[in-house]
Structure formats: structure tokens, C-alpha cells
């Protein structure tokens, strides 16, 4: 397995860190090596929030993402900052509210209505991270739906299981419906 480097970005309250943690936990469950890190900063307050996950079949030495396999950007600010100079074959997932002002460097772009889906389909804005998670998994084909669900349910608060299951379904669908 080639080492996967995921960079997940958004704004403070959007739960991209939780997204990364779930991804990393699912990977570990599957016997992979995985690490997760995030950028801290007072500027994270309101500003861009960044979470990185690296998954591989061997110990991961360098702890930061260098050549993202995938970039997720949920806000304009995050996209402006991170959606540039990506490797040619990188996957770029952006919320469809975002306008790309820089050349992302890749043409492998998924412009998905993540936020709207969370709000209107799942009916809970806070599930945008889970919607994204499912979309990422769908694109990269990392885990089976069961594996993914298990990892999600282990982390989310009790009582929100059904909601999050819906979010997973919605995320999968987003990619399935996506026309490249």
C-alpha cells in the first residue's frame, strides 16, 4: 500500500479533526499504520483549521503531509490557503460553495455540495464532517461501509447514531452522483 497523505481543512467548528481521527482509527482497525495531526493556533479561532492524516502499511516517519494524496476544503478561506500546488494526481474535494481562486495543480476535482447536504439532507449541519468522510472513503476506497460505520459510531456521541448513519449514506451518494 502506498502511503496516503490526507489534508482535511475547514473552519474551527466543522469537525475536520474528528474526521481525521475517525479515518485514522478505521485504518488502524484494519491493521494499517496511521497518524493524525492538526494545526493549532489562535488563528484557528475563526480562521482555517487543518487536520492531517497519513495512512500506510509501514511505520510513518515524517509526521506531516508533504504531497497530499487528497485535500478536502470545506470553506473558502481553507481553499484559498491550501488548494494550490497540489500534486498532479491529487484528489481535491471542495464544497460546491467554494470558488477556486488559485490553480490547484490537479484536475482531479470533486466539487460536492457537502454543506448543503449536511444541512438539508441529513438535517444537521454538524454532520458535514461525516458526509465528507464518507465521500473521501468512497473516492479512495479505503474501507468497507461497515468498517467505516463502525469507526464513526465509536466516536460520535450517543444518541446520534442514526443521524451519522444518514450522513454516511449521504456522503456515499454524493460521490456516486458526482459527474466528474
Amino acid at each position: 500500500m502506498k502511503q496516503l497523505e490526507l489534508r482535511l481543512t475547514g473552519s474551527g467548528g466543522q469537525g475536520v479533526i474528528m474526521l481525521g481521527v475517525i479515518l485514522a482509527e478505521a485504518a488502524i482497525k484494519k491493521g494499517h499504520f496511521a497518524i493524525q495531526s492538526q494545526s493549532y493556533g489562535p488563528e484557528a479561532r475563526g480562521g482555517a483549521s487543518k487536520c492531517e492524516v497519513i495512512i500506510g502499511s509501514e511505520t510513518i516517519d515524517y509526521p506531516k503531509v508533504q504531497q497530499p494524496t487528497l485535500l478536502l476544503a470545506l470553506t473558502q478561506i481553507a481553499a484559498d490557503k491550501y488548494a494550490q500546488n497540489l500534486p498532479q494526481d491529487a484528489v481535491l474535494i471542495i464544497d460546491d460553495s467554494i470558488e477556486l481562486i488559485n490553480d490547484p495543480g490537479t484536475e482531479n476535482i470533486y466539487r460536492l455540495p457537502i454543506l448543503v447536504t449536511a444541512r438539508d439532507v441529513v438535517r444537521k449541519e454538524l454532520t458535514a464532517n461525516i458526509v465528507s468522510l464518507a465521500a473521501i472513503n468512497q473516492i479512495l476506497g479505503l474501507f468497507s461501509k461497515e468498517e467505516l460505520l463502525e469507526a464513526v459510531l465509536q466516536r460520535v456521541p450517543k444518541g446520534t447514531e442514526i443521524l451519522n448513519q444518514r450522513a454516511v449514506e449521504a456522503g456515499i451518494e454524493l460521490v456516486q452522483n458526482h459527474v466528474g
Binding site: 495531526s37 515524517y62 506531516k64
Partner: protein, 382 residues
């Protein structure tokens, strides 16, 4: 029984390791990026009958932690840069009064308030020299989350064994990293507890080492030992002495208990050193960068290797000296403006070229930088 495998954060591993070692008291003051250690301790300690207290400042934090240890409880305090500076006076007290204590510094960008959310390794010399006067210091530095667990256990063990404060010098990268960890089972790692004085016995000379002891047994409050503890120079009775002769003996004691046991205390990792022609010396999170670089260099047929100081103080003098016999060029990679490199230069005494690579601005070194550097060295351009 199969070990639990989990995703764990560095700071969490420190707390879990401490609990594994029998830790029962935390006192400190929050500061980024060490705060999770306090927060998790607040959550976990009372579950095992331990105590957590958030003190009014870092000085109070270390003071209370020393107090608890004097009374007989395994204690820890954690902080970062500014708080580490504030704790220095009482670090010297613990060294002088011979009190076991674990002090964690999750290093961040400095000096001063600096870059609180970035990582650095610029408190390395401070770990050894931050308090006034002469005292020895033991400091360990982990490169991974699991190692944070293990070294925290080891910090407690060394603290108890040698009756001395021990530092875990980690950094923001490791402290905040979540990583796959195989959690040790109870009994899997050795746990050392302090030797204590026999209950009910009032020793006239509680600081007199008995045959077979590395350090004199500690008194326990409430056990009828009723000894005296002080930060003044004291003699074997534990009471202050103004004699310079006594001071000489005492200083030598607190130094020798560490330096006579360097082989027990010093721990290093050697990576690809057997046939290395150029070597990195490094520690902590930067070791991950170096390891990646060494692998990349080896892949290109360049014989690079790494000596990693797990114990950074006392420094692995023997190992570094041997290394200098073996390779012509040593690159000390560290996230600062050049600190540990000075120790390496001192030890190497000109037997190899010693060069620093690093910076203190919070920007992690990239493996490619090291690869490029080695190539330049090979081509004689640097």
C-alpha cells in the same frame, strides 16, 4: 492476552504511561501545547484514587508536586516553555533535596511567548542548565507516541531509583500527534518504586547511604520516620550544614549517583550506523525526519546513519565518541538555532566534523532538506 491497539495522542500517552507507572498526583498550570496532560490527568487520576490540582501558577504547580512526592506519592507536573522557565528554581530544589519527580516539557516555539502553537526543541540546554548552581539532570526525549508512554514510565523509574527529578522533553509535534499505539499490558514494563525507610524508625542519619543502596531510603510522611528535608546544603542528618567540606561531599553525591550510573541511565537508538560514513545525531521528533532522510539516502546508496539520543541528559558521551571514530562527518539535526550540537562538538573534540542543521522558527525540518544537505557534504560543497 493480546495487547490493545489504539490511536493515541502523545500527551495522552504521557498520562497513560504515568498511570501505568503508579502516578497518583498531578499539580500544574495549563499551557499550550502541554495542556492535554493536565486535562487528561484531571479526568483519570480520581478514577484510581489519585489527585489532580490546578495550581495558581507553574511555581505552585511544581511546588505542590514536590510536596506530594515528599509525602510519598508519585508525582508529575507538565508544562511548556514559559512555565518551564518559571519552574526552574524548584527544579533545583528537587535536585538538591533529592526528591523524585517527573517534569514534562512539551516544547513550543520560543523565546518568550514566541509561537505557542508551533513546535520546537529549543529548551534542551535549559533542561540541564535552567536552574542556578550545579546539579545533575536526567532528561529523556521520545520520538513517537508509544515511546512517550514508555519513557514516561522510565522517567518515573529513574526518578524513584535515583531520588531525583527527571524530565520528559517532548514537543508539540509528538505531544499532539495521534498515532497507532500497542498499549503495554500490566507487568509488561518494569516499575520501580522508591526504597523507603522502615516504618516507625527514626533514623538519626536519614541521608546516610546504607550498604547496597544507590541512594538513601526515603522517609514517608505518617510512617513515623519524621525526617527533615531542606534545599540548603545538608549533612547526613538532613539538617543544614555550613561546612564547605560537607558541601563538597554532598555535591559529589548528587552528581555521582547520576554519573556513576550513566550506563543504566543513557539510552540511544542506533539506526543504519554499522557501515555509515556520515551520521546524524538527533533526538525527539526530529528523529522521525532524520529516519526518513536516512532511508531516502540509503535508497540512493548513500551510507548515512543516525544516532538518536533517547536519554539526552546525561548525554550519551561514550556513544557519540565512538561515532566520531567511525564517521568523518556528523550532522546534529534539531529544531533550534544550535543547542545540542554544542554538546556533541564538545564530546567529539575534533575527531569528526560536526555541523548543525535546524532552525527555531517552528517550521519542521523536511527530510529532503537533510537529503540535499548530505549530498552537498558528499560533493564537498558543504
Amino acid at each position: 492476552m493480546s495487547n490493545k491497539i489504539t490511536l493515541m495522542q502523545g500527551n495522552e500517552a504521557c498520562v497513560q504511561g504515568a498511570l501505568y507507572a503508579g502516578y497518583r498526583f498531578y499539580a500544574g498550570y495549563p499551557i499550550t501545547p502541554s495542556t492535554e496532560i493536565a486535562e487528561l490527568s484531571a479526568t483519570e487520576l480520581p478514577k484510581v484514587g489519585g489527585k489532580f490540582i490546578q495550581m495558581e501558577d507553574e511555581i505552585g504547580g511544581i511546588a505542590a508536586a514536590i510536596g506530594a512526592s515528599i509525602a510519598g506519592t508519585k508525582s508529575m507536573t507538565a508544562t511548556s516553555g514559559p512555565g518551564f522557565s518559571l519552574k526552574q528554581e524548584n527544579i533545583g530544589y528537587a535536585a538538591m533535596a533529592q526528591i523524585p519527580l517527573v517534569i514534562v516539557n512539551v516544547m513550543r516555539g520560543g523565546p518568550s511567548t514566541g509561537l505557542p502553537t508551533q513546535s520546537a526543541q529549543a529548551d534542551i540546554m535549559q533542561a540541564k542548565y535552567g536552574s542556578h548552581g550545579d546539579y545533575p539532570m536526567i532528561a529523556l526525549s521520545p520520538m513517537s507516541v508509544r515511546e512517550t508512554f514508555d519513557l514516561t514510565v522510565r522517567c518515573f523509574n529513574l526518578a524513584e531509583k535515583y531520588r531525583t527529578p527527571v524530565m520528559l522533553m517532548t514537543d508539540e509535534v509528538i505531544g499532539h500527534l495521534r498515532e497507532r499505539v500497542v498499549v503495554p499490558e500490566p507487568g509488561e514494563l518494569e516499575i520501580i518504586n522508591r526504597t523507603t525507610s522502615e516504618a516507625g524508625v527514626l533514623r538519626p542519619r536519614p541521608y546516610e547511604k546504607q550498604p547496597g543502596e544507590i541512594v538513601p531510603a526515603m522517609s514517608v510522611f505518617g510512617d513515623g520516620n519524621r525526617a527533615h528535608t531542606t534545599g540548603l546544603f545538608y549533612n547526613e542528618t538532613g539538617f543544614p550544614s555550613n561546612s564547605t567540606d560537607n558541601a563538597k561531599i554532598m555535591l559529589e553525591r548528587i552528581f555521582n549517583k547520576v554519573y556513576d550510573n550513566v550506563d543504566d541511565i543513557v539510552q540511544v537508538e542506533e539506526f543504519e550506523l554499522d557501515d555509515a560514513e556520515i551520521a546524524f545525531v538527533t533526538f525527539g521528533s526530529t528523529s522521525r525526519v532524520v529516519k526518513a532522510a536516512v532511508k531516502a539516502l540509503r535508497a540512493e546508496g548513500i551510507k548515512a546513519g543516525m544516532l538518536r539520543a533517547i536519554t539526552i541528559w546525561p548525554s550519551p558521551e561514550k556513544q557519540i565518541r565512538e561515532l566520531a571514530q567511525k564517521v568523518d562527518h556528523i550532522i546534529v539535526a534539531e529544531q533550534n538555532m544550535g543547542q545540542y550540537v554544542r554538546e556533541v562538538q564538545r564530546i567529539v573534540e575534533g575527531q569528526a566534523r560536526v555541523q548543525h542543521y535546524g532552525r527555531g522558527n517552528g517550521d519542521l525540518i523536511k527530510p529532503q532538506e537533510l537529503v540535499a544537505l548530505v549530498k552537498e557534504v558528499e560533493h564537498g560543497t558543504k
